[in-house]
């Protein structure tokens, strides 16, 4: 079994957080996971998904479940 834990992705709606775009960072993590560990059984996001608990950025989360 292989799985990828992600945590504290701290996605914000628009703009930067401490000079970084967290959604872009998360997209890169997802791309790397798909490219190098596409055989993983699941990704588990252990909290800190958004920075200010907004609804909208959650819909923008690029991770999708794989069968």
């Amino acid at each position: 079994m292989k799985f990828i834990p992600l945590a504290d992705t701290h996605v914000v709606g628009a703009g930067l957080l401490y000079g970084q775009d967290p959604a872009k960072r998360l997209s890169r993590a997802v791309a790397t996971t798909n490219a190098e560990n596409g055989d993983a059984h699941f990704v588990i996001v252990t909290g800190g998904m958004t920075y200010w608990a907004m609804q909208r950025p959650l819909r923008g989360l690029p991770a999708r479940s794989r069968s």
Binding site: Y18, E36, Y51, W52
Partner: protein
């Protein structure tokens, strides 16, 4: 007990650089961090690749650097080291009856066991029957043990990196020994891979640390080449208490911005934009 775990310092003859950086400066920065923030450490343990090419001058530089430290230092050799040159620079250093740099000490009821997993002219780890017998004897008459070594004794799903793990011929006996003494071995600590990797092996938790020089990039398909780059270094701070072990990653070269915040709920409130 508190241990500073440093690894893969790869010292050169002073003045020579190693893969684009000055390893002496990096090592000095790490020791300064220990002097400044970890005066309560009980041991500084450096798990091998003390030098990059094993020259006497590199070991002399290591000897010179180990001054004004808050606690004893324990040195282990790695694949880049030269055992004879190491022993010339540290003539009183303990070794086992076969001449390997295997030694141990008891601290707070735990036997700290320092292993020599090297063999000449190979980057892979070796731990044959003579060394297994020494380790077996050390484990037999203690109640708690913690093992420090340079090489990973298990494979790590990285085909190229795994070529320089403990050689496959020596793995079964090592694993068998770990399983037989699993209940008294609290942890395996190693370096070599220039990356942080944690897990369990034979029912025993393990943790590696980064190098103070360059880091490796994990690769799960590459079969020939070891990939690495100038990622930030760190060392580990290992705190051992009655309830278990906590390992912190210490980024001792960080000199960039530092953000500070309180821990109260409102300290993280979303700023209200000015209309």
């Amino acid at each position: 007990m508190k241990f500073v775990h440093i690894s893969d310092i790869h010292l050169t003859c002073p003045g020579e650089r190693m893969a684009g950086l000055d390893p002496h400066r990096r090592f000095a920065q790490a020791l300064d961090e220990v002097r400044g923030k970890h005066q309560d450490a009980d041991r500084i343990i450096i798990t091998g690749d003390l030098t990059h090419w094993g020259e006497p001058d590199a070991y002399a530089a290591l000897n010179d650097a180990l001054v004004d430290l808050p606690c004893p230092v324990r040195l282990l050799v790695g694949n880049h080291d030269n055992r004879a040159n190491f022993l010339s620079a540290f003539p009183d250093h303990p070794r086992d009856e076969h001449g390997y740099i295997n030694y141990a000490e008891d601290l707070d009821g735990t036997r700290l066991i320092y292993l020599d997993t090297t063999a000449p002219r190979t980057h892979a780890g070796h731990f044959g029957v003579d060394r297994i017998q020494w380790l077996e004897a050390q484990l037999q008459d203690c109640t708690h043990a913690r093992l420090f070594m340079h090489h990973n004794v298990m494979t790590l799903s990285q085909p190229a990196e795994d070529k320089i793990a403990l050689v496959s011929a020596d793995r079964p006996a090592f694993a068998d020994l770990l399983k037989r003494h699993q209940s008294k071995i609290d942890y395996l600590h190693f370096g070599h891979i220039h990356a942080i990797c944690t897990g369990t092996y034979c029912g025993i938790p393990f943790a590696s640390v980064r190098s103070t020089g360059n880091q490796s990039l994990p690769d799960f398909t590459e079969t020939e080449l070891l990939h690495g780059g100038p990622l930030a270094p760190s060392f580990a701070l290992i705190e051992v208490g009655g309830d278990g072990t906590v390992i912190h990653d210490i980024p001792f070269t960080w000199d960039g911005p530092v953000f500070s915040s309180g821990t109260g709920w409102d300290d993280w409130a979303k700023p209200v934009a000015a209309e």
